[in-house]
Each structure stands twice: as C-alpha cells, then as structure tokens.
Symmetry: D2
Subunit: 101 residues, 4 copies
C-alpha cells in the first residue's frame, strides 16, 4: 500500500527553538530515499506504507536520543485505491486549476 503523509514533529522540554531537531528528522527522511517536500509546518513524504512509518518511528527514537524527553507529532495520512499519485501530481492538480482561472 502506497501512502502520502505530512509529518510534523515537535519536541517538548528543549526550549523554544526546535529547528535543530526538525533538521535531524529531515536528514533521516532524506537518507530513507523517499520522495519528500519540506514546508513551514512539516514535510510531505511519499512511499510504501511500511517504509514511511519506519521513518516516522526512527525520527521519534532519534529525537529522544538527542535529549528531548517528550515529543508530540502530527501525521496526516492519505491513501487511495483509485489511482497512484506523487506529491508533485497532487500539487499540480490544484495549481493547474489556478492557472486555468
């Protein structure tokens, strides 16, 4: 099963600046070789369900190892059986309608 997710990790108990931790997650996602796109509230990731979810778990484990005692993260999960769709495809389906207008 293919999946497209939007993943945002927020470490708690490490002060107000969290970009160091977000950058570490981004490296883990890059190393996993998955299609991805960073934005200001998370990262769009696309791939096989088990690979994507293993990546999310690895992020939680790694951020705890870096010293964050608590993590709250948000994951939006999209699956569909009617057709396959990449992150670019999904974005294009909206932007093409904007250009038509």
């Amino acid at each position: 099963m293919r999946v497209m997710v939007d993943f945002q990790l927020v470490p708690l108990g490490v002060g107000v600046s969290v970009s160091k931790y977000v950058a570490e997650c981004e490296k883990i996602i890059q190393e996993a070789g998955l299609e991805r796109k960073l934005h200001a509230f998370g990262t769009n990731i696309s791939g096989e369900w088990d690979e994507v979810m293993a990546c999310v778990k690895k992020c939680h484990e790694h951020i705890h190892q870096m010293g964050a005692p608590r993590i709250t993260s948000a994951l939006k999960i999209g699956t569909r059986t009617d057709r396959s769709q990449s992150i670019k495809d999904k974005l294009n389906s909206v932007t093409s309608k904007l250009e038509e207008a």
Copy 2:
C-alpha cells in the same frame, strides 16, 4: 517504545455520512485490545508503537476493502522518555488542576 495517539479517519468518495466507517475502525481498535477512548473527532489509543501503528494500517486497509476509494486520516503521536502515562493519567493531570481551582 510506548506511544499514545489520537486517530481520526475520514473516508472520501462515500458520501456525507461516515459513521459506518468510523465504527468499523473502532471495532478494529477494540479487537487489538489497546487502551482507547472514543471522542467526537477521533479515538485516543495507547500501547506499544508497533501494535498501535499496525492497528492504524489495518483500519486503512479495511476501509478501502469496504469500498472507500480514498482515505485521509490524522494521527497525533505522543511519546515520552521521562515517565509512563496512560490515557487516564494524561486526562487526570488536567482535570485535577481544574478541581483545585
């Protein structure tokens, strides 16, 4: 690694009423034997990371099998290394402060 999540599944392409699908997910979560609490926007679930995530995957697979061509779901994920906490504990930490006031 223990995890507490809040899981909300929304099937698309099956009309405006989705409670039939949400009830099926609730059964899958019940059968998994995990600590849980249903609310109006999802279900709090607590357990081992792999068990909880297997349950989420099973829900996506089952709802597609029921005929929903597309699913968008939202998962809030909480992990902590400082102490263990059940769904009831987490709720009590707030309600006890309300009673004190």
Copy 3:
C-alpha cells in the same frame, strides 16, 4: 454558521509538563459557556463560528500572558449544511453502530 472543533494547544519553551496551561484553556472554554468535551489530545467544542474562534484566540493570548513564548496548536474544524449536530449526536452516530453489531 455553527461549527464543531477539536482544539489542542501546546505551549513551547515552558518545560515538559504542559497540563497547567491546558487546564487554563479549559477554564476559558468553560467560561465561554460552549458545549465541550475534554479528551487526552484536546477538547471538542461546539458553537457559533465566531464564538468558538474567539475562544481559541483568547486561549493563545492568555497562555502567552502566563509566560509561554511560543504556542503551537491544532484545530480540526467541522461544518455542515445538511443538518445540525451536537458533540453527543456525533458520538452517538458511531456508538449506536457499535451496539448494533
């Protein structure tokens, strides 16, 4: 326009325990007189759009005044024109299907 939301506020830069801040939000929601239901990952709130959103804004303002320099919150927003529905109604539409089974 009526709205039902699920609101979760997370203060950053105030350490690992956030229940003190969540309890303060709960008081603000109570004082607003809105239908509500607390769970382990937020609070279901129902009411008129402007009243509910004013309540969310007040929570952000108050938590900053309590000393939290940064807040990240999550709001799920449900509106419908086909029928009116309370928090209890929404929950019952699922639980009644579980009892039938």
Copy 4:
C-alpha cells in the same frame, strides 16, 4: 497578534476529487493578500490573527456555497512573542542547518 497557520480543507459528499475546491480556497487566500505557500497537504499562511481567521471562515462559507454539504478542515496555529518570523524565515531556520551538516 501575528499568526502562522497551516490550513487544509477537505470537502465531504462531493466525490473523490477535491482539487477544484482546494483551488477555490487558494484563490480566496491569494485575494486576501496574505503571505502563503501551497503544499500537498495544505497551505502555510501568515498574517494578523483576525485576517487569517477571516480567510479560513470565508473558505468554509464559499465551499458550502459551491455545494459541499460537509467540510472537515485541519488548522495548525503558531504564535510566538519572542520574535517575529515569516514563512520563509521558519523554513530557512531548518534548511540552513541542513546545509551546515
């Protein structure tokens, strides 16, 4: 109070393809003149609290007028008193750390 949000609107009861509705929301956000960045699971928007929230409300109203009987949307809300930050700033704070590595 400045706010940065991530807004994702999902219309229910209109079939499996929702990009037409998402494009309409994007137009409303553009017309509001707010700093924004579309991604595959929503749109980052930055501005004054009341302007941003008025925009979110307008999207719900407009999508209902287009015929969607039910909408579920997700809004992540970020506020901070320690410093001002644009969408680009927030993104750069992560990407600069990736380049250093």
